[in-house]
Symmetry: C2
Subunit: 389 residues, 2 copies
């Protein structure tokens, strides 16, 4: 370790006010919170958080926040998250999947309200991953046929540069994630508990692999426990992050059909894989198909189903060129980890970005070459010209 590494390590990162505000709001309102979502858009996150604290909010917001508005754990949550390699994405962040999530607010269904923030773990850049993403979901009690098809589909989609979004559950979800990982592709797991929890326990290794190459995402703050209600609520985010949803196997009362319903509410294509009519695990798929879902048998048909990528995300605003465009994922993460105005050391950056120390050093070389950061007085800071880019 060089002398300059630990030069100026802030003891507590100076969290940006909007980040602190959203971390607070993420803790005090149980999703979905349509009242709060609208209120934050109206007055901004910092004022929204202040007024929630004071109880000075419209009735719907009060109803959503009354029970927990006294829970002040924003800084502690952010610190705990950073310590476990997690970071908080907010709509103010360039990684935020603004285009895909526009539909959550735009569809006018309160149950589908967008999250106030997302806690994520992993090197993946969410906005970029969602540019070409398909949700592959299905039953926990999947058959061998279903897990086989989900795995093949996950791999084939990944091979075609398509991110596989799913819920990390036993059965179809897990097989889809594994298929994508096996093809060295991108996959995003959206959890119904804190992104720092390995749930289901049997998927601890799988979740670690996803967090190691893709992204584990949750709107629930660190430590949150899963629950029946949260699984259903979580499904809107799976639908919201993807250009379309494929249900591989589902019983008639499967949660996967909820993801399909949410997808349809967002105006995006619902696809289903058929199976034997003698299999109860295909009954939910067959019902979806009878109700208008598109039958798909392989990845090409799924890609055809979501149409020209982005067509379903018509609300996606044109993305301006940024100075950070084209950065390697690790370099991007390191760049994003820098405190807005402060200085820091490589060790702190490694922890903050969730990137190994060696990779941080490689990334800093690239960032320095592109005039995005500078090394001064023994520590690193964003290049003055680069701030706000």
């Amino acid at each position: 370790m060089s002398a300059r590494d630990d030069a100026v390590v802030p003891r507590e990162p100076r969290w940006a006010p909007d980040l602190l505000a959203r971390a607070y709001l993420s803790r005090v309102a149980e999703p979905p919170a349509p009242g709060l979502a609208g209120f934050v858009v109206e007055v901004g996150p910092v004022e929204a958080a202040e007024r929630v604290r004071r109880g000075d909010v419209p009735a719907p917001v009060a109803a959503e926040t009354a029970a927990r508005r006294g829970v002040e754990r924003a800084a502690a949550d952010l610190a705990a998250a950073a310590a476990s390699g997690m970071r908080l994405l907010t709509p103010e962040h360039p990684e935020w999947p603004a285009g895909p999530f526009e539909a959550l607010a735009g569809c006018g269904v309160g149950e589908l309200a967008p999250p106030v923030a997302l806690w994520v773990t992993g090197p993946g850049r969410l906005a970029a991953l969602c540019e070409r993403a398909v949700a592959v979901v299905g039953a926990r009690a999947a058959t061998g046929y279903g897990t086989h098809v989900a795995g093949e589909l996950g791999a084939a989609l990944a091979q075609r540069s398509c991110t596989v979004v799913s819920g990390a559950a036993i059965g179809i979800d897990g097989a889809a994630h594994r298929g994508a990982l096996g093809a060295a592709g991108a996959t995003v797991a959206v959890l119904a508990c804190g992104a720092d929890r390995a749930y289901p326990r049997a998927h601890e290794t799988l979740l670690a692999r996803i967090a190691g190459t893709g992204l584990v995402v949750s709107e629930y703050p660190p430590g949150s426990v899963p629950g029946r209600h949260r699984f259903l609520v979580r499904n809107r985010l799976i639908a919201g992050l993807a250009a379309g949803t494929v249900v591989v196997e589902a019983g008639l009362r499967s949660g996967a059909t909820r993801t399909a319903t949410d997808t349809a509410s967002l105006g995006r294509p619902v696809m289903a894989v058929p199976g034997p009519v003698t299999s109860g695990m295909s009954a939910g798929c067959h019902r979806l198909l009878r109700e208008g879902a598109v039958l798909v048998t392989r990845a090409e048909e799924v890609l055809e189903g979501i149409g020209p990528i982005g067509a379903q995300l018509a609300l996606d605003p044109p993305v301006p060129r940024r100075a950070t465009d084209g950065l390697e994922p690790a370099a991007q993460l390191v760049h994003d980890a820098f405190p807005a105005g402060g200085a820091c050391g490589t060790r702190w950056l490694a922890e903050e970005a969730g990137v190994p120390l060696g990779a941080v050093r490689v990334a800093l070389v690239e960032l320095e070459r592109r005039d995005l950061v500078e090394h001064r007085d023994g520590s690193w800071r964003l290049h003055p010209r680069s701030v706000g880019r």
Copy 2:
């Protein structure tokens, strides 16, 4: 055998002129013969046959009949048919499925031209059988899954008073017929060869069972051999007799998809049973489903698919009450077997109607009771008041 049984048996039945004309036309034109079909509608069967014999016909009709117009086997075919328990149905006959076949002429597709007549074997009454009929078809090289589903579907449709129409082929067709027979239901086999031939040979017993309770149907005269072309042409009759078609299993190049195409051309619903996407034998079904066919998993959905029975057969004219309405099938057959103006004996009736001698005697009791026939001078004839009813 009583003395009156063999009293006056005409050595050669006096075939009605239109029957003879259509038997001749059935032999001389290879189906489909849209030119001939239109010509017969225009000038009637008797004049059409005379002019075909002379070669005095419009060019399209000449093209269809030139090769075989010298083949004069009408009376011989009718006699041979009668001898083997077969009869010729014509549009002049009350058993003719006029409503369902209207669509064949009405769709304007030459390939779907209606037949000039149908050779049939069995106690079934075709028009009545088609009032509520579904075609269940599929691949010869069916899987165990496919034959299982076809058999269950055939049985369940039969139990719901729905006639199962199919092509008597190995695989799905055979399973569908067997399912219907097993449920003591009605089933109709449409052959691509003479209705007196057992083809495929492996289905000799199955065909005999269908002919014993339902109906074996062919537009090809007795003794005709099957051929690749005839299988495809035959499929339009399967589609034409049913209110809708269900494809249970089909490869991508299956003849069953031709039946589906014909069904769609007739404006009737095409349904398909899904299966594993890993099965080539379901690939044709999945393609049909992606192209708009209705996914069905059980008989109730098939019946829902064909809608209110008859809605697809909107051209079916209202059926007037007939003096023969409500007759037992055997009695109806015996009644229909009577020569229009002549007298006959029970043995002749048995042969002509394809009904066992004992059943003929039972039938005659009923027919006499209803004043439909009378016994006079030692032989049977239609009751004068009943002729033309």
